[in-house]
Structures are given as structure tokens and as C-alpha cells.
Amino acid sequence: MASIKISRESCKGCGLCVRVCPKKILRLSKESNNSGYFAVEIFAPESCTGCASCAVMCPDCVIEVER
């Protein structure tokens, strides 16, 4: 069991976490957050292994990881 918590309002939609996720279960959402960024979302949370690659890559400390 593993999961990530995305703090949507801090996300700048840069897409770097999407790029490094080995399971390819992240994507940018179609709706923007209050800052106007297309924040990231996880679409297959059950496949998350908690490897924390996304969190290590994120320049804005948006993602928390539990494992």
C-alpha cells in the first residue's frame, strides 16, 4: 500500500513529476487551479508504489508520499 497527496493549489503544472513517474500514473488535469496552472492528478492511485520519484523531482514540494 502506498499513496501520494497532491497539494493542488501549490502545483505549477510543470509536468516534471509526470515525466519521472515509473508507473506513468500521473497526468496534468484539464482544469486549472486558482493560480491558473493545470495541476497534476493521479489517475490510477492503486498502482502507486510509493517510490517518491515524483516528490524528489518536484521543484515546488507539492507531493507528499506515504508507504
Binding site: K12, G13, R19, A52
Partner: protein, 245 residues
């Protein structure tokens, strides 16, 4: 389940003002995590540069001082001398460190000041709108070399680590990259080494981090990291350039 990753308390709640995908945020987080894990939250002083990281004092949860352009190592050296019980670091861009601040960094390294310098090399002046830096690659475009940097006219990129490693003062000098996850994990180890050297009083330490500036490079964040990895790492090889045992 246990939390395996969350924003460190060594960073404040203030959101970074950096552009989307800018690696300054990664560098800040690594420095903060290392200081936090060393347990020195209450005895750290950082020195912020002039450049995009000028507001670093709002982000690090420790005492901070902002220095004039390029003078961060001189200020850090002074702080370390009057309050040596502190871990002292300077955080500088490549315009700040290798252009206007070249004299300060060379003499700080040469004196073996017991400070740690975090050197963010993004091959450009970010804050002022993307002018050529001493580290700009041959052929790389900027607002002041729109046709690409040309060696005959603009000289060649300066390799700061290699140059400083020729001096007797430095205790540890390493160049790392922030272009992918394994590199970022390595970069953190390099910072740990540097700060530990300082704790042991070994002298001047510098970690150069090959970074990206998607905005002024006019690339997406992803393209920018590819450029860091495929182009910058060719000219600025990664590795340890000085290590005093």
C-alpha cells in the same frame, strides 16, 4: 503507512516564486533537507545572492542575510568568522558567482574559508531576462548572443569547479546535476559531504548544481532538463574535483 516524503520544516510555508519547472526549487529543498537531517536547524546562517534566488531568505527557515551581487562568499566568510558555531552557506547563481562575484569566490576558496557554497549553474542570467553568463555554452542563444555564443567574440564557458580545485584552500568541490531523479539523489549526498566537511572544520566547500532555466532558454521544463543532461553535462562534466581526506 508512514510518511516517506514531505516538505521539510527547514523550508518555510512561503511558496517559491520560481517559474514552473525551475530547478532552483529542487536545490533549495536539498539544502534544507540536509541541514534538517544534520540537526542544525538552530545554528545555520544562509546568504542569499542577487539573481532569481534573491528571495531565498523567505524560503529557508533559518537566519538569512542577503548580499550584494556576487559578494555572498565574502559575507558568508565574515559571518563564519564572527559566529563560527554556525553552519554558514552561500547560495549563488552563475552570473552572481562567476561574473561579478568571481573575485570573491576565488579568494574565499583560496583562503579556505570554512563555508559551503551552493552554486546554481543554469548557464544564463535568469532574473534579468536571459543574458549570456560566463557559463553559457558555445552556440547557446541568449538575449546578448542571439546568434549563439561564439568563442572568438565571447570567449569560452568557465568551468568553476576545475578552476577552484587548483587552489590549496578548498576541502571539497563537486559538480552534480539536477536533471533527473538519480542525479538529484546524488546531489543531496554531495551536499551532505560538503556540510559535514564544514562541521569538521576542513575548510571551503562548493557544490555546483547543473540546473535549468526553462523560461530564458525558451524551452518547456522537460526540454530544459534534456538540455541540462545532453548539452551542459558534456561541457561541465560531473564529479568530485577536490577532496581533502
Amino acid at each position: 503507512m508512514a510518511t516517506v516524503f514531505k516538505k521539510t520544516d527547514m523550508l518555510t510555508e512561503v511558496p517559491f516564486h520560481y517559474c514552473p519547472g525551475c530547478t532552483h526549487g529542487i536545490a533549495h529543498r536539498l539544502v534544507a533537507e540536509v541541514l534538517d537531517e544534520m540537526g542544525c536547524q538552530n545554528n545555520v546562517v544562509g546568504v542569499a545572492p542577487v539573481g532569481c534566488a534573491v528571495f531565498a531568505y523567505n524560503y529557508f527557515n533559518c537566519d538569512m542575510q542577503q548580499a550584494s551581487h556576487g559578494r555572498a562568499p565574502a559575507v558568508a566568510s565574515a559571518i563564519k568568522r564572527v559566529a563560527p558555531q554556525n553552519i554558514v552557506f552561500a547560495y549563488q547563481g552563475d552570473g552572481d558567482l562567476a561574473s561579478i562575484g568571481m573575485a570573491e569566490i576565488v579568494h574565499s576558496a583560496s583562503r579556505g574559508d570554512n563555508i559551503t557554497v551552493v552554486f546554481i549553474n543554469n548557464a544564463i542570467y535568469g532574473m534579468t531576462g536571459g543574458q549570456m553568463a560566463p557559463t553559457t555554452l558555445i552556440g547557446q542563444t541568449s538575449t546578448t548572443c542571439p546568434g549563439g555564443r561564439c568563442a572568438a567574440q565571447n570567449g569560452n564557458p568557465i568551468r568553476v569547479c576545475e578552476m577552484l580545485a587548483t587552489l590549496d584552500g578548498p576541502a571539497y568541490i563537486e559538480r552534480v546535476s539536477l536533471a533527473d531523479v538519480p542525479s538529484i539523489r546524488k546531489a543531496k549526498k554531495a551536499l551532505q559531504k560538503a556540510f559535514n566537511c564544514q562541521k569538521e572544520g576542513k575548510g571551503f566547500t562548493l557544490i555546483e548544481m547543473l540546473s535549468s532555466c526553462p523560461t530564458n532558454w525558451k524551452m518547456t521544463p522537460e526540454q530544459a532538463l534534456d538540455y541540462t543532461k545532453n548539452e551542459m553535462q558534456q561541457i561541465f562534466p560531473l564529479g568530485v574535483f577536490k577532496e581533502v581526506k
